[in-house]
């Protein structure tokens, strides 16, 4: 009656063993971590240094090497939540559309008259035509530039909306195109943020999209959120624009299609430049910190073939003219073209120190952000605070664990010992599962484990109380144990399903620490039901088979 089939015994012991093996690396946290780092670094480099080989030897390769990730609140680091200003892209799309549109409309000059761009709100292109009565022809011409949007929701829509009133033609992105653009912008920003963070090479950064237009960035081990912000908050939009003139009047009107930008290192100097760039940073293939001929820090770069061709053609046609190197709407320098530059290589210099030239090179290499980032949330946690929390959590867990064990053994004697062994295995299994799925342990997560320690015995308590009742009712030991388990079952299931529902809701709504809590809570429920229902039962049955007691005391 109390027999557990062999396959079930093997299964239970197997699950416990696998769980514990997976949990084991966490006991040797720092050793396994250096091993993993060394493996990753040597794989990336293609060879291993002596140091790395020593680190790799510190942990055998055939053992699992998964670790529980420590959350930012335990390891220290920086957390940022950024919003991508997706609407900014609409403006640059319109700027890029203008030359094309001008060409198309100019072909119709005979019917629609002269064409010129007039001031418009951001994200719209307003074009005035000479003959207002020929507007239909202008709209038709403009429409030749519209292309259908390829998306699930916006099928059948064009990418631009064209409307006309009086002699002004208004062009803006259609809603379907805006949605598609927004998505692309966020994806691209995410990719660039990832590249920038990777360039600095910190361990296990978390960079993920949140909601429609937000990016969550968590970097362990970085000094402060301000540092991280300096790295990823810069747009790093590099362009090479034709210079129209140089001025010292900050309020000068630059004219349509032009822009007035301040110089970065000459106080009070402004440049009027053409809005449409000759070449942009997107056509760079490489950038590295270097020194110019005066031994000042500089950044050297190379264009890709198409960038080199455009730059070569422009410089060849404009010898003696200045052109501006513009970074994030500031003119870094405006050298005069002496020769056609056809090699596709160049150098940016001007007020920089070695640190800032290194950073600029990183930013240029990683590419420009398509739009500005606004930071909605930033958190910095020092590593000492995290370590303090780990230590406090460890002591509290240990004390809590011992107290629960004492209470269980005092109340249930030998059965209490079974429950305590199961509890120990339970904690091991929690860590095993956390490592296996690569979950992140946070400070509330530690609290979740302590809470589980307290609540995990609940299933056992339910069973033991039932066995007690059945014994009091005069049942024999074997029967009492059997009935105890089967009668307690429905209460155990209901009680744990409700808690699982809560954990699920916490997981969906929560961010960072709260999510970590939800994960440990959910895992704790699953492992505690497993250990209480199968592991303690296996122990109890094995003991019962050996001892064959006439009566049992619970």
């Amino acid at each position: 009656m109390l027999d557990i089939p062999l396959w079930k015994r093997v299964l239970i012991l197997g699950v416990v063993a696998i769980g514990l093996i997976w949990a084991m690396p966490n006991l040797f946290y720092s050793r396994v971590e250096t091993h993993n780092d060394a493996v990753a670094a040597s794989e990336k480099a293609g060879f291993a240094t002596e140091e790395q080989q020593a680190a790799m030897a510190g942990w055998p390769n055939w053992l699992p090497n998964g670790l529980v990730n420590l959350g930012l609140d335990l390891r220290g680091g920086a957390h940022l939540l950024a919003e991508v200003e997706v609407a900014e892209v609409y403006k640059s799309r319109m700027d890029a559309l203008w030359p094309e549109m001008r060409r198309v409309l100019a072909e119709q000059r005979d019917t629609i008259g002269a064409v010129r761009r007039v001031p418009a709100p951001d994200g719209e292109l307003h074009i005035e035509i000479g003959n207002a009565d020929q507007m239909a022809a202008a709209v038709a011409a403009a429409r030749t530039l519209a292309t259908p949007v390829v998306s699930l929701s916006g099928a059948g829509q064009n990418d631009i909306d064209i409307s006309a009133s009086g002699k002004v033609l208004t062009i803006k992105l259609s809603d379907a195109e805006k949605t598609a653009t927004d998505d692309r912008t966020v994806q691209q920003s995410l990719e660039i943020v990832r590249r920038r963070v990777d360039e600095v090479g910190t361990r296990e950064p978390t960079i993920q999209r949140q909601g429609a237009n937000r990016i969550l960035i968590q970097v362990p081990g970085i000094g402060s959120a301000a540092e991280l912000k300096a790295l990823i908050g810069t747009t790093a939009k590099l362009t090479f624009n034709p210079v129209i003139r140089r001025t010292t009047d900050a309020n000068e009107s630059p004219g349509i299609g032009n822009a007035l930008l301040p110089s970065i290192d000459e106080e009070g100097v402004y440049y009027v430049i053409e809005d449409s760039p000759v070449v942009t940073g997107e056509e760079l293939t490489n950038a590295q910190p270097s020194f110019d001929q005066n031994s000042q820090p500089a950044v050297s770069f190379n264009f890709n073939p198409s960038g080199a061709r455009k730059f070569g053609a422009y410089t060849a046609a404009n010898i003696g003219q200045p052109f501006a190197i513009v970074l994030d709407n500031e003119v870094i320098s405006a050298p005069v073209i002496r020769d056609a530059i056809t090699t596709g290589a160049g150098q940016i210099s001007g007020s920089m120190d070695v640190a800032s030239s290194t950073q600029l090179a990183v930013l240029l290499r990683a590419g420009a952000l398509p739009a500005k980032l606004t930071f909605l949330e930033e958190r910095t946690i020092g590593p000492e605070l995290g370590q303090d929390s780990i230590d406090a959590g460890r002591i509290a867990s240990l004390v809590g664990f011992l107290a629960v064990v004492a209470l269980m053994i005092a109340s249930y004697g030998l059965f209490g010992v079974f429950a305590s062994v199961a509890l120990t295995l339970n904690i091991g299994l929690i860590f095993g599962l956390l490592s296996m799925i690569g979950a992140t342990l946070t400070l509330p997560g530690i609290a979740g484990i302590v809470l589980t320690i307290g609540m995990a015995v609940d299933a056992n308590v339910l069973v033991f109380e039932r066995i007690r009742e059945e014994t009091a009712r005069g049942r024999g030991p074997a029967r009492a144990i059997e009935e105890g388990y089967s009668n307690a079952m429905s209460a155990i299931v209901d009680a744990n399903v409700t808690t699982l529902i809560i954990a699920g809701i916490l997981f969906t709504m929560g961010s960072g620490p709260v999510k970590g809590f939800a994960v440990t809570l959910a895992i704790g429920i699953v492992t505690s039901v497993f250990t209480a229902l199968w592991v303690t039962r296996l122990m109890m049955v094995t003991w019962f088979d050996r001892a064959r007691p006439k009566t049992i005391e619970v």
């Binding site: 939540l81 301000a226 958190r379 406090a392 005092a410 509330p444 709504m509 929560g510 620490p513 809590f517």
Partner: protein
């Protein structure tokens, strides 16, 4: 008979309805007082919910709140709250303070320049000062966080009640629902009364309390359902007493082990999560109380169908029903 620790004597026959009037009165009173307290005093929202910046400082010299305040005052940052943090786990020369700065007009998150200025000003007061954590949340996010938090609590209440409804009867679901609301309200009331910092982790704690409280309630309901099938004529009130008495030993034992573990965490777990642990600890006590005194009283009051041995004839399709 070997010695056993018995938190609850065997075969208790406590009449849990004897003090019904008093417990009901106390529960109602506490719930109403909590609502009043929430309206009058409000909650001491952390930056998660109202935006702003908190800076944790640590120094080897004792914290001088007045001097800190004076140092920051010239920066014109609006509402600045400074409080010293005490904890038994701190070393002798570890002096910690928490500075909270309100969300700044027109800025989503406090700029690094402002934080740098605050840090510089404080370093003038005490050169040994360090800043183990700096957190800043913009008003846009904090508004959304409140919404999500309220939604989460509501969703949990509804999801649990629906589950209980499926597994038991609607009266049980109603009882569970009322007792959960009771737990949430009173916990909120305590947070309001003592102005304990209320942030995202407190919401997590609140949901955990719901989980624990329902856990306890379900165990009692489960036993009640069993007894309803066994004793078909015993008055409902007596059956409820029987069920609570039978499960009392388990209730006390589980609350005991959970509380023991939590008290260890409360005392030794450090100040960072103390508010969180306090909420759960308090909630466990109130949740245990409510599953004994609130949930089943509601069920008794609503009444429940008595014959659980046969399937409900109402639930049968017409063709299987006996002709009248």
């Amino acid at each position: 008979m070997a010695w056993r620790l018995k938190l609850v004597p065997d075969n208790t026959q406590i009449d849990f309805f004897r003090l019904q009037a008093i417990t009901f009165g106390v529960s109602t009173l506490l719930a109403v007082a909590s609502v009043v307290c929430l309206f009058v005093m409000g909650l001491n929202f952390g930056i998660d919910f109202r935006g702003g910046t908190t800076i944790r400082t640590e120094a080897t010299q004792p914290v001088d709140v007045g001097a800190y305040r004076q140092a920051i005052a010239p920066l014109n940052l609006g509402d600045v709250a400074i409080s010293q943090v005490f904890d038994p786990t701190f070393g002798a020369d570890q002096h910690v303070a928490q500075i909270r700065i309100q969300a700044q007009e027109g800025a989503e998150a406090v700029s690094p320049e402002t934080i740098a200025k605050v840090e510089d000003a404080l370093k003038q007061v005490d050169p040994s000062i360090t800043f183990p954590s700096v957190e800043s949340v913009g008003p846009k996010v904090s508004g959304e966080l409140i919404q999500t938090a309220v939604m989460a609590v509501m969703a949990s209440l509804v999801a649990i009640s629906v589950y209980i409804w499926f597994r038991f009867e609607w009266q049980f679901a109603a009882g569970a629902f009322v007792s959960l609301i009771h737990d949430v309200l009173i916990t909120l009331g305590v947070f309001s009364l003592f102005q304990i910092k209320f942030d995202l982790t407190t919401i997590a704690a609140l949901l955990t309390i719901l989980g624990y409280s329902i856990n306890d309630t379900v165990v009692v309901f489960d036993r009640l359902r069993e007894n309803l099938m066994k004793f078909k004529t015993t008055p409902l009130r007596d059956l409820m007493n029987l069920s609570v008495n039978e499960t009392l030993s388990r209730t006390v034992m589980t609350s005991g082990t959970t509380l023991v573990a939590l008290i260890a965490l409360l005392a030794l777990g450090g100040d960072v999560i103390r508010g969180f642990v306090f909420a759960i600890t308090f909630g466990i006590v109130i949740g245990t109380y409510s599953s004994i005194y609130v949930a089943k009283n509601i069920v008794l009051w609503l009444g429940v169908k008595r014959d659980w041995s046969k399937p409900d004839p109402e639930a049968l399709p017409d063709q299987f029903r006996d002709a009248p």
